[in-house]
């Protein structure tokens, strides 16, 4: 039966490990995988850490390389040519022959049980090693069996090679054996371990259960490489679900030199703040270890937009309500803002004239008269807005010009204005005319912050709206005003259902409220000093040092601030940007953090990358704990005094 979802944008398919291969492949948009596979490190025999926030696509990437999916891609080459080509370019598949196979291991809750159980005489590490080895062995069996069967080789001809004795393998990996013999032993052992992990206290220990003192399954993979005409690479997913001690064991084993690639996907939240405040580049390379930040890889707007359009087209196939639509149709239905109509433009220009007159009366030597400036011209409302911004800037100058008549009149012209000022002017005009600030498909993509999960969160309510319109046979266009209402609701849900439910969620919420209000105040100052607006705050390098340094972190408030920032960064609420040297020569390095663009909607901030404001960590900590008025933040930016009690 074909799948039919009312709104296929509501499901996170990467979470659905039980999804059928055909559905997984039908949904797949391989643009990001293509970009990744161009990174040569990935297929080198190294340990590659694929780190990212939830929704950055880790699981979807890894699952593509499992044997079952690869076989389906080869068998149905004509159905999935776009995926076949990507794998072919990377030489994973060559002329319908599978050359490399990923062994996909998902870290599930049973690993946690190995740490929680307490059985006398058995160490928890032994249980962990054994479970991991058995799970890898199971994947090796399945992969080799499927690969050989694909080549029409029967099981009786397949031999699993034993691990050399100098590697001190556990008995189960020690000898050559047929795949069926090996399979029987591995499955029995898994069942014994599962029984043990699930047993009640006092239950007798299973006989003949040999526990592993070290992880040996990587040696097992290495051995099979010698007898199989295919390359393997190990892929560990959800490694962040391990307890720290287990993570350490696995990290040590995986980062040791080996002859095949190991990819380990993990969420960012397991990384301490020091690592999250890294260089901002997408990769770090060491001899045996390579780290790739998927969020940075995705931060390529044109690639991301292409990816999203294909993703939208694929998902539309899974709803009978909208399957006649394409991403282009939908893009057209989510209307961009209409041009300002003449009546509104007239009102705006009148208001601008009045404002300019008031300004000119105070600073008549510097600010030209609006009417005089535009004499003989028919200014547009956006030109009027630019004029005003520049007029305010001029009026704010502390020194009067000695020769005002010599100042270039063109300084006030729209055509001369830099794009940042134009963006600010557009925002100011929309505010003045109460026109929705955000509308259109491109804005939805911008708001999604280059994160697939966030795109689904933002886009699915629009699809709900379209479905409703189709159901009642009404015009399917969603006008900007309606879009604005939908967006407001999405932000509300994001705050209530995501941010507030996080560990330290209340502090993060308080911080973003204070930051958002402050950014709004500064962004809408009439002279647009930080055009197109403020969307970032920055921490000075000396403050970053305190957050990272263990000695300073002994102070409870610094520790707590560090934890708040870690959670906010790892969940994409705050996004660390490349550090900058802006300012006077020799001044400190600044580490800016952007507010998630979905939150920018809440505070009417621009969706373009805005300017930043430096905030000392003392003030930042206070902003996490109490409502702080924007004026107060502006006043106290230079202060290092902690005003609330350090009572943690």
């Amino acid at each position: 039966m074909a799948y039919n979802f009312k709104n296929p944008f509501l499901s996170r398919f990467s979470d659905r490990t039980g999804l059928s291969n055909s559905m997984f492949l039908s949904m797949y948009a391989p643009q990001i995988v293509r970009k990744l596979l161009n990174i040569e490190h990935l297929l080198l025999p190294k340990a590659t850490w694929l780190i990212g926030t939830p929704g950055s696509g880790k699981s979807s990437i890894l699952r593509l390389f499992g044997i079952d999916i690869l076989i389906d891609i080869v068998r149905q080459r004509s159905t999935y040519p776009h995926i076949y080509d990507v794998l072919s370019e990377a030489k994973i598949i060559e002329d319908d022959i599978i050359k490399s196979i990923g062994l996909y291991i998902q870290i599930d809750e049973l690993y946690a049980e190995t740490a929680n159980v307490s059985i006398s005489g058995i160490s928890n590490d032994q249980l962990f090693n054994t479970l991991f080895d058995i799970r890898v062995a199971k994947k090796v069996i399945h992969t080799i069996e499927s690969y050989n069967n694909f080549k029409s080789i029967s099981n009786s001809e397949i031999i699993i090679r034993g691990v050399e004795s100098e590697q001190f393998p556990p008995q189960i990996f020690a000898n050559n054996q047929t795949i069926d013999q090996f399979k029987k032993k591995v499955y029995e052992k898994e069942s014994l371990i599962a029984g043990l992990l699930n047993s009640f206290p006092g239950a007798p220990l299973p006989k003949n259960l040999e526990l592993h003192n070290r992880i040996s399954s990587l040696d097992l993979i290495q051995e099979q490489k010698r007898s199989q005409d295919v390359e393997f690479f190990l892929m560990i997913d959800d490694s962040h679900d391990l307890y720290p001690s287990q993570f350490k064991i696995l990290k040590t084993v995986l980062e040791k030199r080996n002859s095949f690639p190991r990819w380990i996907a993990t969420r960012k939240h397991i990384y301490p703040i020091a690592a999250l405040l890294g260089s901002g580049s997408n990769a770090t390379d060491e001899r045996e270890v390579f780290t790739l930040d998927l969020d940075v890889v995705l931060n390529d707007t044109s690639l991301y937009k292409k990816f999203i359009k294909i993703l939208v087209d694929r998902r539309l196939n899974f709803t009978s309500m909208l399957n006649e639509f394409t991403s282009e149709n939908i893009e057209a239905m989510i209307a961009k803002e209409e041009p300002v109509d003449l009546d509104k433009a007239k009102i705006a220009i009148e208001q601008q004239k009045d404002e300019a007159k008031k300004l000119a009366s105070k600073f008549k030597y510097q600010v030209p008269d609006f009417d005089v400036y535009f004499k003989g011209k028919n200014p547009t409302s956006i030109e009027g807005e630019i004029f005003l911004i520049k007029a305010y800037r001029t009026s704010n100058k502390k020194q009067l010009s000695l020769f005002p008549e010599l100042e270039a009149k063109n300084d006030f012209a729209y055509s001369e204005a830099p794009s940042k000022d134009r963006h600010a002017a557009e925002l100011f005009l929309k505010k003045r005319l109460k026109i929705p600030l955000y509308s259109g498909f491109d804005n939805i993509i911008s708001i999604s912050n280059n994160n697939v999960e966030q795109f689904m969160r933002v886009f699915s309510p629009f699809i709900d709206r379209l479905i409703y319109r189709v159901e009642i046979n009404k015009n399917t266009s969603i006008l900007p005003n309606e879009q604005f209402k939908i967006l407001r609701n999405i932000v509300k849900n994001y705050i209530n259902n995501v941010i507030l439910r996080l560990y330290l969620g209340n502090n993060i919420y308080q911080l973003i409220q204070n930051l958002g209000n402050y950014f709004q105040l500064r962004s809408y100052e009439p002279n647009a000093p930080h055009a197109p607006g403020i969307t970032q705050f920055a921490i000075l390098a000396s403050d970053i040092y305190k957050i990272k340094d263990e000695k300073f972190r002994a102070k409870p408030w610094i520790k707590k601030l560090s934890d708040i920032l870690t959670v906010a960064i790892s969940h994409n609420i705050l996004i660390p940007e490349q550090s900058v040297k802006q300012g006077a020569a020799g001044s400190e390095l600044k580490h800016p953090f952007s507010l998630n663009r979905l939150l920018c909607v809440s505070f009417s901030l621009p969706l373009q990358k805005g300017d930043f404001q430096i905030i000392p960590i003392e003030l930042l900590y206070e902003m996490c704990n109490r409502h702080t008025k924007p004026d107060e933040i502006k006043k106290r930016k230079a202060s290092k005094q902690l005003t609330i009690l350090d009572d943690l």
């Binding site: 039966m1 499901s11 039980g18 946690a112 049980e113 307490s118 599962a194 009640f200």
Partner: protein
């Protein structure tokens, strides 16, 4: 008596008066001491009937919202103060519900704690688990363990006291659901070859939990047989549930209409009987399929019907999958201070009633 005709009564007080007269000893009540006003209802009822039970309080912590007016804290404090009326066999057992990564660990921890004091438990003729104030992830493993111990090592009679209060249940809602997991204390399939006939027992409009569990087992699930409530006191409930859940039930899970079972959930043994029958039916029907086929239960209705599902799972060695709640929201805090006068239901789970 066989379990299919299991013993339960809504006349809690008269049952226990008679029972204590018979055995000459007050029972031990195991109860939670959270904010739920039903937590100690069975102990209160016994106390008011002149029976002073021994008490084993379980002190567990969940995250809860909606305490702006302090009613949640007040309700918890009331419960904690009330336990002083009783003779406690030990200090309250402090149970961590979740580990540092938000995984549910309470069931395992509680069983371990109970195991450590089991000799004390063995001295009682009757043990009542009051599930009114205990989350499913605590009382289900505890029930499984004690049923097991009743068969093997010294627990004599096990009872459950349950007080369904739909008004109260509707006010306490899950705010955040964890990833679904096989419940500790029940069968745990590990092999990928396992196939499931999934029985979600549905009683609330909770599509998120249903979807989460289904997503987890999707690949292994060969049939879905939802059990829906059929209540004479609210005949529209089933229709309303189907309407609310139609998208997830029929479009995502693709349930066949004739696979839906309607059971009167007020008796735990109706649910029990249906699961036992379905388990038997499917093991015969699907025995020739490669790999093992198991009935997988997800109890998502009220706690009383969960009791039936738990007993069936223990008896037939069936796995239970559940998505635990990490935080609750109480919509109207005042409800916590309202006095509850109803008697809980007495469900005799294991012991003399079932011996030949």
């Amino acid at each position: 008596m066989i379990r299919a005709d299991g013993f339960y009564t809504s006349e809690f007080n008269s049952f226990w008066k008679k029972r204590v007269e018979e055995v000459g000893k007050a029972p031990l009540v195991i109860a939670g001491i959270g904010f739920d006003p039903r937590s100690l209802q069975s102990a209160k009822m016994l106390y008011e009937s002149g029976i002073v039970p021994k008490l084993l309080p379980i002190d567990f912590s969940v995250i809860s919202y909606g305490d702006e007016d302090g009613s949640l804290s007040e309700a918890t404090t009331n419960n904690r103060n009330y336990i002083n009326k009783f003779d406690m066999i030990t200090d309250p057992l402090k149970i961590e519900m979740y580990d540092s990564q938000g995984r549910s660990i309470g069931g395992r921890t509680l069983v371990k704690e109970i195991f450590n004091i089991q000799t004390q438990l063995n001295s009682f003729s009757d043990i009542i688990i009051d599930i009114g104030g205990l989350p499913r992830t605590l009382f289900a493993p505890l029930m499984s363990f004690l049923i097991n111990q009743q068969k093997e090592s010294g627990i004599k009679n096990l009872h459950v006291a349950s007080l369904p209060e739909s008004k109260l249940d509707n006010e306490i809602v899950s705010a955040q659901i964890l990833e679904p997991n096989f419940m500790y204390g029940f069968d745990r399939p590990t092999s990928d070859d396992h196939k499931f006939v999934w029985i979600p027992i549905i009683g609330k409009n909770d599509p998120a939990r249903l979807r989460k569990i289904h997503n987890k087992i999707e690949k292994s699930c060969i049939e879905t047989c939802p059990i829906l409530p059929f209540r004479s006191n609210d005949p529209r409930l089933t229709d309303q549930l189907i309407l609310n859940l139609k998208e997830v039930l029929f479009q995502e899970i693709r349930t066949f209409n004739n696979n839906i079972f309607y059971i009167d959930h007020r008796s735990p043994f109706f649910v029990y009987r249906e699961i036992i029958e379905l388990s038997g039916y499917y093991s015969k029907l699907l025995k020739d399929l490669p790999g093992e086929v198991k009935v997988l239960i997800s109890p998502m209705d009220d706690k009383t019907s969960s009791v039936g599902a738990i007993i069936a799972a223990v008896e037939k060695k069936l796995p239970i999958m559940y998505a635990d709640t990490i935080s609750y929201k109480v919509k109207n805090g005042n409800i916590l201070s309202s006095e509850i006068k109803n008697e809980p239901m007495e469900i005799w789970v294991a012991g003399e009633a079932y011996e030949d």
